[in-house]
Structures are given as C-alpha cells and as structure tokens.
C-alpha cells in the first residue's frame, strides 16, 4: 500500500510539469492549428535559462526559495520571448501556406534549437544547483519532500492564472474567439497576428517554467531533454482533447501517473510503450480526446 501511495505522489509531481507543457501544445494548436514540435525544445531552453540564473545567483543547498522563484521567472520570460520570436520568424509568415509547411518548419525549429544549445553549452549534461534539497514533509513508508510540494503548488498557481486569463480578460476572450474561427475573429477587429504571438508567448512561458521545475527536481538537464518529454506532453494534450484546456490539465496529471505506475508495477523500460500505446488507442477510439473537444474543428 505504501508503495502505491509513493507512486501516486511521484506521479502527481511529474504530472504537474507535464500538464504545464501540454497546455502550451493545446493553446498553440487551438489558435494556429499547429502541433508545435519545437515546444519540447522551448521547455529545454527554459531549463537552461533557469540554470544560468541559479548559477549566476550562486544558489546552493537548502530551500533557496527566492532564488527558485527568480529562476522560474527568468526561465519563463526567456522562453516566452523565444516562443514568440520563433512564431514571428518561422510560423507567422507561413500562416496562409498549407499546414504541412508549418509542421516542417516546426521540426526545423526544434532541431535548430537543440543543436544551437548543444553548440553553445556543449554536449555534456549539466547538473542543476541543489536549490530544492530542503527536508521532507513526510518520511517513513511514504516520502514527500518540500521540493515536490513547491513544484506542485507553482504548477497549480500557473494553471489557475492561465485559467483566469483565458476566461476573465479581453485578450483571453479574443484568444478563444480566434480558436473558434480565425476569419470571423479578424472581422471582429481582432489583431490576429499579435494575438497569435501572445498565445505563443504564454504557452512557451508555461513550458519554460516547467523546464526550470524539471531541472530543480531532477537536477540533470541536457540539450536533448525536450524531445521525449515533449512527446509525452503532446500525448497528454491529445488525451485531454487538444485545444481543451481543463481536459489537458487533467490529462497531463494522468500521463504523469501512468508514467509513475507503469515504471513501478511493470518496468521503466515499458513506460514509453504504454504511454504511446495509450496515444494510439485514444487516436483510434476517441480521436477528440477523453474529454471531448470544445474548440470547433474546421474542415
């Protein structure tokens, strides 16, 4: 039983950052109808930006909460700017091209980001400063650390902020309108290009924050870290009904749990088989995702 609870705790922690990354996929798909394959690499850049910040602040051991927050903020803002920059440079010029062109551009951006970081920082993995090494909340049969709590609280706070932004602000409303119908939104006087950039900014910002949290939690980052976790988050986005934000949040947490339980009860070698098997099953049986899709899909 204690094993089960331990897997649950670990799964919820992983699910918290997977959900943040998945939200970016979902939002971007919602407004541009693009699976942004570079999103995982944006997440990676966030991890590196946070690494730079923590190193510059000289954060070591213990719960350096201000340093952690600074790293998350810098990481998130950096990736927000990078994400919007990518969209401006690579995607907006292709908006009226066939969708395949956008997809190929996304793959190109993904490789360029990875190789760029590899050239700049080297191929070796980097060890994050141990800023989250504070004590445990629970110890005994089940272990929960303060670090895990901080990560989950940060994730939930960011998701709540996103939710408030999308539902309560004019920009958020415009974003939802844009997701429904780009042309109709334009006719309503919405500056579509600027709004797309805003969406990229926010989606990438969440991924960057997740990148910093990942680095703090797992301590080890490398230029290729975004690929697999990006695919897992993408699976979560599909599972939740891509474009459906609450569905995506729930599905992100579910994928985290699947990852943790499959590694625990089966073998970590099978984790990816199970997760991506699930992706195929969802696509085959319920292509709109487990929670249906709120955004109207256009023909």
């Amino acid at each position: 039983m204690s094993e089960f609870v331990q897997y649950l705790v670990n799964g919820l922690t992983i699910g918290a950052f997977l959900a943040l990354i998945a939200l970016g996929y979902s939002m971007i798909y919602g407004v541009v109808r693009l699976i942004n394959f570079a999103h995982g690499d944006v997440f990676m850049i966030g991890a590196f930006a946070g690494f730079g910040t923590l190193t510059a602040l000289g954060a070591t051991g213990g719960m350096a909460l201000p340093a952690i927050l600074a790293a998350v903020v810098v990481g998130a803002l950096t990736t927000g700017v990078v994400g919007a920059g990518i969209a401006r440079a690579a995607y907006v010029p292709l908006l009226s091209s066939p969708r395949l062109a956008l997809l190929i551009a996304a793959i190109g951006v993904s490789l360029a980001l990875e190789e760029g970081v590899k050239v700049l920082t080297g191929a070796r993995f980097k060890s994050y400063p141990h800023a989250l090494d504070g004590g445990r909340i629970l110890s005994g049969a089940v272990h929960v650390t303060w670090g895990q709590l901080v990560l989950v609280v940060l994730s939930v706070a960011l998701m709540a902020a996103l939710w408030a932004f999308v539902t309560r602000t004019v920009t958020g409303t415009a974003m939802r309108a844009l997701a429904m119908d780009r042309d109709a939104a334009r006719l309503q006087g919405i500056n579509v290009e600027r709004l797309i950039l805003t969406t990229f900014f926010i989606g990438s910002l969440l991924a960057g924050a997740a990148g910093v949290m990942y680095g703090l939690y797992y301590v080890q980052i490398s230029f290729g870290m975004g690929f697999l976790i990006g695919l897992r988050a993408f699976t979560a986005a599909v599972l939740g009904g891509i474009g459906n934000l609450p569905g995506t949040m729930v599905a992100g947490v579910c994928i985290g749990l699947v990852q943790s339980f499959s590694a625990g009860y089966v073998s970590s070698r099978w984790t990816d088989v199970i997760i991506f098997g699930l992706l195929i099953a969802v696509l085959a049986l319920r292509p709109t995702g487990l929670f249906g899709e709120r955004v109207v899909e256009r023909a």
């Binding site: 793959i107 590899k118 070796r124 301590v219 990816d272």
Partner: protein, 401 residues
Amino acid sequence: MTPLTPRDRGRRFRMFTAAGAGLLLVPLAAACGSGGSGGSGAIKIGVPAPLSGDSASAGQDILAAAKVAADEINKAGGVDGRKIQIVEADDQCSAQQGAQAAQKLLNSGVVAVAGGYCSGAAVPAIPIYGRRGVPFVMDASTNPSLTDSGKGKVFRTCGRDDNQGLVAAKFMTGPLGARRIALLHDSTTYAKGLADAAANSARRAGGQVVYENALQPGQSDYGPVLTKIASTRPDVLYFTGYFAEAGLLMKQRKQLGLKFTLMGGDATTDSTVLKTAGSAAGGYIATTAPLAKDLPAAATFVSAYKAANNADPGPFSVYEYDAVKVVAKAIDDAGSTRGAAITEALHKIKDFPGITGPITFDAKGDRTDPLYITVQVQNGAFTAYKKLDESGATWVDAKTS
C-alpha cells in the same frame, strides 16, 4: 533505432541526419585517406570514443589522454623516426555510430586503433577492423565477449566485466556482509554483462539475488524503480549502468529515504555524478579499475594531462594512455606498420611497464593481471577503499597499494 546509443530517445530526425552525414563522410574520408596509407609521413593511430552524446565527457577524457601519450612519444623522437598522429572518431557510444567511426578511421589510413569506451560500440567495430587486419587495443570496453569472440585482432588494457562482477560480488558478500542483493542494469551490452557476471558470482558466494532488472536510461525519474527495488528488501543495490543515471539514483534514493547501500560499476565513477547527487553521494561505493590518482606510476601522466587540459584525467584516461603506448611499442618492435606484424608484436609484449601496471596479453588479448578495486565517496570525491590482495582471498586497504 534500438541499436543506437543506450540512451537514445528513438529520434527519427537524428537517424536521418546521421545517415546523411555518414553518406557525406564516406567519400570525404576516402579522399583524405588515399594519401596517408604507407609512405614516411606520420603513423596514424585511430582513437574511437564517444565525443558527443551523454558519455561525451568520458570520451573527451580518453581522447585527451591519447594526445598526451602521442605528444610524449613524439617528443622522444617518435617511432622509427616517424611521428605518431592521433586520428579521432566519434562513436557516440552506439553500435551504429561505432561501425561508422571504425570505417572512418580505416578510410583515413590508421595502422592500429587504441580506444573505445562503450562495449556496445566496440561490438560492430571489431569485425570491421578485423577484416583489414588492423589491431584494436581497447581501453575501456570491458565486455567479456569482445575478446572471447575471436572475431578480430583485439586486445585490451582494461579488465573484463566478469573480473569486476566477481570483485563486486565478493565485496558485497564479504566486507559489506550483504545477504540480499539487488542488481540493476540499463540493457546495454556492458551493463547487462556486468550485472549477469555479478549475479553469478554473488550466488556462488552465498548471496541471494532478490532483484535483477533494467532501468530505461535518460528518463530522469527513477523513483518508481527504486521504490520497487526497496520492496524486495535488499541489503545492497549494485547498479551497473552509466554515470548519468547513477547520480540520479543516488539523489532519488536519498529523497525517498531508502536505506539499502547503493553501489555501482566502473562507469559510474565520473566526477559529474558527484555534482548531480550532491550530498546524496556520500558513502556511495563503486567497483572500478584503479583511477589515475590511485596509481603511483601515473603521477607524471597526471601532471602532463593537467598541464595540457587544465583538468584531472577521467576514469579511463590511464588505460587509454597505456593503450597508445603499447601500440607504439608494438609498432617499434615490429619495425613495420602492417597490421599482422603489429598484432604479432602485441602478443609478444611481456611486462611492458604501463602506468596501470605491467602489461602482458593472454592468447585472447586480455590483460593477464587485471585489477579492480572499490572506491567510496568521501568528502565529495572518489577515494580508494578496498582491494583484494594478490591471492584474491582477503581485502586490504586500497590506499596503501
């Protein structure tokens, strides 16, 4: 993609780029190679190593050590009046890249090869060198099958996993007093081989193997694996994979508050694990070939290496240094750069004074005196801990050797 690097994420993009780069390299390398074979220019010695990817730090250390050895030889007048030239090739620690690196080295006209890090990359490379009769002196590829297969002209300056497995098993059941032993590998040729060797020896030494399975490298989250292992109530966990995962295992074992002793194989003794694990590394034990700083004969090498690279040598640097030196000696003895002559000379070498001890190869190409010791993390550094004495019966303090 499975034959790619052990921690490959199954990326299709990379396969295309690799294949594309490979296609470009073949004619290029052939063009470079046509001028170099034979003649009185420099003698080319190939060094395949993982120069990129997750094992890149070990590969860079190996290459740096080869260059130190070559510099020394060249400063002393070279071999038969000819300079030694090191030709590097990146094998990325993968089977596919290993084969490409071997081909690249042959195309550039190397007369012998001294290097390698991952056994998985050596497996496909051995027959490629073998077909051209080029001898391959491995510095860190420790899988028993490499020399047992008899497929090429292979030698190694490092020990074999079955030796290491035996030392690990004896250490766990002896000084550690462990009864219940858990083994974790990562499915790579090296790690699986070492785990199997340790399991066999542990059973023979009276231990009970309560867990033997693999983790998926590059996943970052080993909490579930550790929780599962803890449920088998082991006294000790012996992890035979590479250092990137070892650091995470140490850290996550501490986060989960697990009490069993954590031990690792020689691929975990890279100093980067200490950064990853931080304070969680304290007390970690590893079986390993003696490190440069444990070898009195390596003192000159260590200072030369530091002067050239502004860093300490890596775990296999001394074995690479000896590999290059022993190849140079064999070329000198043979008075020829033909592969067959060098191979014959390598077999004839007896008690060559390497910095890792006297080097003599047996009929298979293995060292006749391979030695493994255990090291322990103390004050944030790997420190020599215990070693079996000459008879293999009692444990002595490794620091005094």
